[in-house]
């Protein structure tokens, strides 16, 4: 028994804990640095420690940077519509994949993941080629098409995971009791997958809101928020403005992620 304790005790060894804590710090310290630099008085360099602290950059962003607000609104619109499209498409695919075994099923599961598994430039430049061949002008809608394409998989993953955990007997019982398949969908399936759809939608929203690689290729003159931030990185004045925006973005994306995590956890603890 003694020898087992070494690796099978209920407590992790200090080396394992140290490694785990190191990874967590590695993941989070840079984000703290971002927040710190939003308050620095030094607008031209990244001097550490900051020579002074100020909140004036928050005022600057709110009152005198309309370019930021335009980009933010565009990003929110794109994310909302792309998420809506991905929600419908992703849910339909998971419903089909869950219900039936059919020829080409494996191929579909591969195509769904492909937009996310292939390098971003591939999806980006592929869509640009196609849009160019089709003679469609680059616009708001070409951005949405690109985003919806790689958001489908997020919705699909969430919904199919929920469906797999749902007992088939429920839908069978509903049909046996005389419900039509539409009623069964409305009253049995939809309530079961609703939170998974919501979680998928929230993640898709965050993914779209943050995307830059594909967007660079599918956008015309429009600047989504990531493209705006990217253009700011090259500027040498008002550098803390980028950090203030970064803090906004971090807050704005954390909320949907936390809600999504909570939704999936509640569902799995019910089981």
């Amino acid at each position: 028994m003694r020898s087992k304790r070494k690796h099978l005790g209920d407590h992790a060894s200090w080396r394992l804990k140290a490694g785990a804590i190191f990874a967590l710090l590695f993941l989070h310290v840079p984000i703290i640095v971002i927040i710190l630099y939003a308050f620095t008085t030094d607008e031209r360099t990244f001097r550490f420690p900051p020579p002074g602290l100020t909140t004036k950059w928050f005022e600057t962003v709110i009152t005198s940077r309309p370019d930021f607000w335009t980009a933010l609104v565009l990003s929110l619109q794109v994310a909302a519509i792309a998420t809506g499209a991905a929600l419908i498409l992703g849910t339909l695919i998971s419903a089909a994949m869950y219900r039936a075994k059919f020829f080409g099923r494996d191929a579909i599961s591969l195509i769904v993941v492909l937009p996310l598994a292939l390098p971003g430039i591939v999806t980006g430049i592929a869509l640009r080629s196609a849009i160019g061949f089709a003679g469609i002008p680059f616009s708001f809608w070409t951005i949405v098409i690109g985003h919806a394409t790689f958001c489908i998989v997020v919705v699909y993953n969430n919904v199919i995971a929920r469906l797999r955990r749902t007992a088939r007997s429920q839908t069978e019982a509903s049909m046996d009791l005389g419900a039509t398949s539409f009623q069964t969908f409305r009253h049995i399936m939809l309530p079961t997958i609703a939170t998974a759809m919501l979680a998928g939608a929230l993640l898709a929203f965050a993914l779209s809101f943050d995307e830059i690689i594909v967007t660079t290729f599918t956008a015309g003159q429009q600047q989504t928020l990531p493209i705006w931030i990217f253009s700011q990185l090259a500027r040498s004045r008002q550098r803390p403005v980028t950090n203030v925006v970064a803090v906004f973005v971090i807050l704005l994306t954390s909320i949907p992620i936390m809600v999504a995590a909570r939704l999936t956890r509640e569902a799995s603890s019910e089981q």
């Binding site: 020898s3 690796h7 099978l8 209920d10 992790a12 394992l16 804990k17 490694g19 785990a20 190191f22 990874a23 967590l24 590695f26 993941l27 989070h28 840079p30 640095v33 990244f46 550490f48 419908i88 498409l89 992703g90 339909l92 695919i93 419903a95 089909a96 579909i108 195509i111 937009p115 292939l118 390098p119 971003g120 430039i121 591939v122 430049i125 592929a126 640009r128 080629s129 196609a130 160019g132 061949f133 098409i145 394409t149 489908i152 039509t180 539409f182 009623q183 993914l207 943050d210 830059i212 690689i213 290729f217 990531p226 931030i229 990185l233 980028t242 970064a246 973005v249 936390m258 956890r265």
Partner: protein, 315 residues
């Protein structure tokens, strides 16, 4: 229950019931209708685009006007074989490989801790802590390393405080690794890539480790294996599909990125940057397309191997 109940013909079934019955009797048709819209999107729009990309790469470019011509040619692929382009490809693939290999030991302890020791509540907290950085703006996280690695930034300050500035300068002198400052070096690019993709690796390894039954480890211990042997003979082989699954993300995402090398790099191009420049500044779509086919092929081979190693079951 008197016998007064007269026979009442049941009302004609409603439209919805008839439709429901019809679809129930024709499962193929209902499947087709469910999949029609998503398949249109994924097959026509997405796969169609990939085909358009490949087609694009065979178009010629007039050497005088720079206009794309309708003549099909292999010139773009011949241009890829020029030393400068080979350099770009080799540099990018090497970086992707290094990033992937380095992410594993960094991710493993946390993944193992989550899978083996963390209470359900703790596990949930750790999940959120790992996913938060992943989903909170990618650009912002790359930018963070510019702040940390800048010449006047935290790392230099720390080096000055600990009297290791000389060491830092010596490190920057190493060709191929260093540069004028850490924020403009291949090392900076490397760190930022490891940083932004690490969560994928942690989650993938954790998912694989979670499926290793505790009894296997106990059996190994009971049979006299030392922890090291148990790790090598039992845990690692079972965790490996997860490592491969995670590596798909770290590798593919590094191959196709232009943000990190633009923010933290020097003038040496990576595939993503070269593609972007060719497409936007030079307006040479065919060559940009041909260069994009390279990571596509690499990932095709990679995914094929990953499938054979069981990585898709671990996803």
């Amino acid at each position: 229950m008197a016998a007064t109940t007269a026979y009442v013909p049941s009302p004609a079934p409603s439209f919805w019931r008839r439709a429901s019955t019809y679809f129930y009797r024709h499962p193929r048709l209902s499947l087709l209708m469910t999949l029609a819209l998503p398949m249109f999107w994924l097959v026509v729009i997405y796969l169609g685009s990939l085909l358009a990309l490949v087609a694009q790469s065979f178009y010629g470019v007039d050497s005088f006007t720079g206009q794309v011509t309708n003549q099909l040619t292999l010139d773009n692929y011949r241009l890829l074989l020029q030393p400068a382009n080979i350099d770009i490809i080799v540099r990018t693939v090497t970086m992707a490989a290094l990033v992937t290999v380095s992410a594993v030991p960094l991710a493993y302890p946390l993944a193992y801790y989550m899978a083996r020791y963390a209470s359900p509540r703790m596990k949930m907290i750790l999940y959120v802590l790992i996913l938060l950085p992943l989903w909170s703006s990618y650009l912002v996280r790359v930018y963070a390393w510019k702040l940390i690695l800048a010449q006047e930034g935290i790392v230099s300050w720390f080096a000055a405080q600990t009297g290791t500035s000389g060491l830092l300068d010596a490190f920057l002198q190493i060709p191929g690794v260093g540069g004028t400052s850490l924020a403009l070096s291949n090392f900076g690019i490397f760190i930022a890539f490891v940083y932004v993709w690490l969560p994928y690796m942690i989650i993938a390894i954790e998912a694989a480790l979670e499926r290793v039954p505790k009894s296997l480890l106990e059996a190994s211990g009971d049979l006299g294996a030392k922890p090291r042997t148990t790790f090598r003979q039992v845990i690692w082989p079972l965790a490996f599909p997860g490592v491969v699954a995670g590596s798909i993300f770290t590798f593919a995402l590094t191959l196709g990125d232009f943000v990190v090398p633009t923010v933290l790099g020097n003038s040496q191009y990576f595939i993503g940057q070269a593609v972007l420049t060719l497409q936007s500044t030079s307006g040479n779509m065919p060559l940009a397309a041909a260069l994009t086919v390279v990571p596509m092929l690499i990932m095709g081979v990679y995914l094929w191997f990953a499938k054979r190693l069981g990585a898709f079951d671990a996803l």
